[in-house]
Amino acid sequence: MSDYAHPEVLVTTAWAEDHLNDPAVRILEVDYDPSSAYELGHIPGAALVDWKKDINHATRRDILPREQFERLMGRLGATPDTTLILYGDMRNWFAAFAFWTFKIYGHEDVRLINGGRRKWIEEGRPISEEIPSFSAAQYSAPEANGGLRSFLPDVRQILGRDDFRLVDVRSPAEYKGEIAAPPEYATEGAQRSGHIPGAVNIPWAQAILEDDTFKPVEQLRELYGAQGVTPERSVIAYCRIGERSSHTWFVLTYLLGYPVVTNYDGSWSEWGNAVGVPVEKEAAIS
């Protein structure tokens, strides 16, 4: 891990186990479906962050507003100085999304468990069903950092520009337009299928190894560089709702150290439903 641009944002499962009782550390399991994960057992002392309820705006489609973030941190007993260790279900996608939102609200020390829940369980590390409770804390967050996020007009504006790269991290079938509206995810459907013109397809999972840990830095550099996703360019990552792309955003920003990377969380569920935006359909490159 030491060759990564910012190795301090990753911890091993062993490190996490060594810090289960560290008062400066708060371990958070970020789940899409807590009933299939956290509620069945979790890292001892880990608190649940429910992606749908805690990380999203209660009414409109948006990430949680600053006040909600402050309340969440307060409920978790976290202050701006707390080290937040994230992991979660679904291959750490939603933990990466939480990482991204916590960075938007300026939390300094956020880290991901490399390999996440899957590796923790694979290694036979301790599991608990106890729900921890914490003394409430006061948390004051700065204004959202807009530099980490792209919106639809931002993406429209850079279409065709060579100093930008759009990275579509969905599966080749989604990229090629074979899947528009997975029946399992009713709120994530799109009127049109395909991809944003000019986007290259580098599925998120190509950044990880069999055990869900991240590939070595050289392999990552080769993976993205081969498709013109280089640090000289600004990069916008997207998927369907922004969770897989936050995993890629994490890789490009923290493991490879690219200076300008944003996550377009509106992603295909916005672009594929928008009126008048261009759509491309072609064979996936990778």
């Binding site: 899409y32 479906d33 299939s36 994960a37 069945l40 057992g41 279900d89 679904m90 291959r91 996608w93 829940r117 899957r118 369980i121 694979e122 599991i127 969905r170 599966s171 079938a173 989604e174 899947i179 997975p182 399992e184 995810y185 999972a205 998927c239 369907r240 969770e243 897989r244």
Partner: protein, 102 residues
């Protein structure tokens, strides 16, 4: 589709024979894509479709998924009649539906 197998039925067996329907589900590749339900959700749905006495044979190559199936079965008082490595080394869990649904 499930297979039908005849086995001794009822407490103590006796001469009665009942028919057990065995359904299979393979969790390999579950959660690789974001287009299918999660691994445990697939098991939940398959289990819910069982009739009383039917069995669900789950192949779970990923320890996280096997863990989830065991924990969910325990929480819902579902009988796990087999739990161990299958012929290919992947964990195999066989669940039996007593009342048909969890």
């Amino acid at each position: 589709m499930g297979q039908r197998r005849r086995r001794a039925g009822g407490e103590g067996g006796g001469n009665l024979l009942s028919t057990t329907r065995i359904h299979s589900i393979d969790l390999s590749g579950a959660e690789d894509l974001c287009t299918e339900p999660g691994a445990l959700e697939r098991v939940r749905r398959a289990y819910a479709a069982l009739g009383p006495g039917d069995r669900l044979d789950v192949r779970a190559p990923v320890a996280e998924h096997a863990f989830a199936v065991r924990a969910w079965a325990r929480k819902n008082a579902i009988r796990v009649v087999e739990d161990g490595p299958g012929p290919d080394g992947a964990t195999r869990l066989v669940l039996e539906a007593v009342h048909g649904q969890a």
